[in-house]
């Protein structure tokens, strides 16, 4: 079966020197390749600075890669013009880590959920409102909260709203960039269940970016581990969990254990 998303040798440089023409560059992505099968979940695990957020932005067509290709349903979106890219963008949606900053706090929940629908010029106000209410139902936000301002919602409710907004344009792929990291444990469980439900109801594909190995192990079919702009290990989740081979994978795994189980790591004072 053809993968829904296939990234081939993606490279992304940022200029970091003192002048525009300087040679110094920050290599965020150094030849990344991965693929995601339709209706499955790929967990991308890495620490900050590994380039995972840059990868998310490139896949969502919000950043232009320096070189390489991103095949979405057989089309290289990285090579498309702005106009053509705009047609593909609704199919790839992004959910960010901090819902407080990715939602306009002064808008009501209903307004946030219906905002993407404004793009569809052929819908009336009433149709948009109905669709938005349906979306809120999908993510289990009670209707009485529809007219509440976004900043009055709890952390979990805000993140549900962000997911509702992502669902508005009926995407095929949702990139979740540390979407659970800022939430309480019990709320993480609720949102994780919601995501799994939505995946089976709507046939969604997820790219689940996180630094939490335990949560990744729970939701993923495939796991890829990233370090300094490269994928160092990838494969089916069970294999990686049973026998992690790369040292980065192993150290991330070890980080989930209680600290006495770490052999002799400490700081000399």
């Amino acid at each position: 079966m053809q993968p829904l998303l296939r990234v081939e040798n993606l490279v992304k440089h940022y200029a970091a020197g003192r002048s525009a023409g300087s040679r110094d560059k920050l290599v965020a992505l150094d030849g990344v390749s991965l693929s995601i099968a339709p209706q499955s979940t790929l967990a991308l695990i890495g620490e900050s600075g590994s380039g995972k957020s840059t990868l998310a932005l490139c896949i969502a067509c919000l950043e232009h890669p320096t070189s390489g290709s991103i095949w979405f349903e057989g089309i290289d979106v990285a090579a498309l013009h702005e106009n053509q890219q705009r047609k593909i963008r609704p199919q790839i949606q992004l959910v960010f880590q901090d819902p407080a900053r990715s939602l306009n706090p002064r808008w009501t929940a209903l307004e946030v959920a219906s905002e993407p629908l404004i793009v569809r010029k052929d819908t009336s106000n009433q149709e948009r409102e109905n669709k938005a209410l349906e979306l809120l139902d999908c993510v289990a936000i009670p209707r009485r909260l529809a007219s509440q301002r976004a900043d009055e919602l709890s952390g979990g409710q805000k993140q549900r709203l962000a997911i509702a907004r992502a669902l508005a344009l009926e995407p095929k792929l949702i990139v979740l960039d540390e979407a659970l990291s800022a939430l309480d444990c019990s709320v993480q469980a609720q949102i994780s269940n919601l995501l799994l439900e939505l995946q089976s109801s709507f046939g969604l594909t997820y790219l689940f970016i996180t630094h939490d190995f335990a949560m990744a192990a729970h939701v993923a079919d495939q796991i890829a581990v990233m370090d300094r702009g490269r994928i160092v290990e990838s494969g089916p989740a069970e294999n990686i969990l049973r026998s992690p081979s790369h040292e980065v994978t192993r150290s991330l795994f070890a980080a989930t254990l209680p600290i006495t189980e770490t052999p002799g790591v400490g700081l000399e004072l």
Binding site: A16, R18, S19, A20
Partner: protein, 324 residues
């Protein structure tokens, strides 16, 4: 360093642009200095024509501009028709008088605004803050003209202060100390007018910046570490509140020459303002352009000054600038 060079280059281009525009507008405005002369039957048309030729008013615009630019490069700013003498020394004498007023007033206003603003912010919502808020609001509402006239009335009624001018009659015969006292006596009312006009805005800005900073987490953290109150307020809070205030200060410096026109006219202070006004009405072209250019230089210098100060005061700007 490169940051500063870039900013300075910017400034030079800005000045050139402004001078060109001013030249254009003045030259295109209907009428010129000699129109009045033409109306005068005693002066023959030939004389007028000869004068015009002498002052090069019959040459095309670009040529005149080029000549003027050349003159400026040599430190001259053209010739005044009305006073029949070079513009530069005339402008400079008047500018000096203006600066005397404005530098004093600006310094005084800032020296008062900082503690008042900090004091008001520290007592946010309580008595000191309310008093300051009300007073500044009242002062803001009163037009500058009314303030100046009000002070003038006080001067006339009480006779405590002179009603205008720079110096008294017989100034030159006084001893140096008496000269100073005389000058100060004449300066008092205009300075008070300027300070009262500028103070409310400054106080409100200082108060707003400091109040915002007082809510910041790092200030609460510093309080949690047991830092003494004075250090918290005057070192930690003020430094963090400095950015918008530095920009405001740069603006204060920038308007040193241009901000006191009204007060100077009302209080008959022989500064740049009234002089320029006269020149505009008389179509004294080069004086006008010279005056505008001088004011612009101050404005641009003020901006540059605040950019430099910001660069020095805020390490985040230094990092961002060097990353470009």
């Amino acid at each position: 360093m490169r940051y500063l060079l870039r900013r300075s280059l910017h400034a030079v281009f800005l000045l050139l642009g402004v001078s060109l525009l001013t030249f254009l507008f003045s030259a295109l405005a209907p009428g010129n200095y000699f129109d009045e002369m033409r109306l005068n039957p005693q002066i023959s048309p030939e004389t007028v024509a000869a004068l015009r030729a002498q002052y090069q008013l019959d040459r095309p615009l670009p040529v005149r501009y080029a000549h003027w630019l050349n003159a400026v490069a040599h430190g001259q700013m053209g010739f005044s028709f009305a006073y029949n003498s070079p513009v530069a020394p005339l402008l400079w004498a008047r500018a000096r008088n203006t600066l005397l007023l404005t530098v004093t007033a600006t310094l005084l206003a800032w020296l008062l605004a900082l503690p008042l603003g900090v004091w008001s912010a520290a007592g946010f919502g309580r008595a000191p803050d309310r008093v300051v808020s009300w007073t500044t609001a009242t002062l803001l509402v009163i037009p500058d003209l009314v303030l100046a006239l009000g002070l003038l009335i006080i001067a006339v009624r009480t006779g405590w202060f002179p009603t205008g001018g720079l110096t008294s009659v017989g100034f030159d015969e006084l001893s140096p100390l008496s000269k100073l006292r005389d000058l100060a006596w004449h300066m008092t009312l205009p300075v008070i007018a300027l300070v009262l006009a500028a103070l409310p805005t400054l106080v409100r800005h200082v108060r707003a910046s400091v109040a915002e900073v007082l809510e910041a987490p790092f200030l609460r953290a510093a309080l949690g570490h047991g830092l003494p109150h004075s250090k918290l307020l005057y070192v930690y809070a003020l430094r963090a509140a400095a950015n918008p205030l530095i920009s405001l200060f740069g603006f204060s410096v920038g308007t040193l020459l241009s901000g006191s026109l009204l007060v100077e006219v009302v209080m008959s202070w022989p500064g740049l303002g009234p002089f320029l006004l006269e020149a505009i009405l008389a179509r004294d072209l080069y004086v006008v352009i010279g005056g505008v250019l001088l004011s612009m230089i101050f404005l641009v210098a003020g901006n540059l000054f605040s950019d430099v100060l910001l660069y020095w005061a805020d390490p985040r700007i230094r990092t961002a600038a060097s990353a470009k």
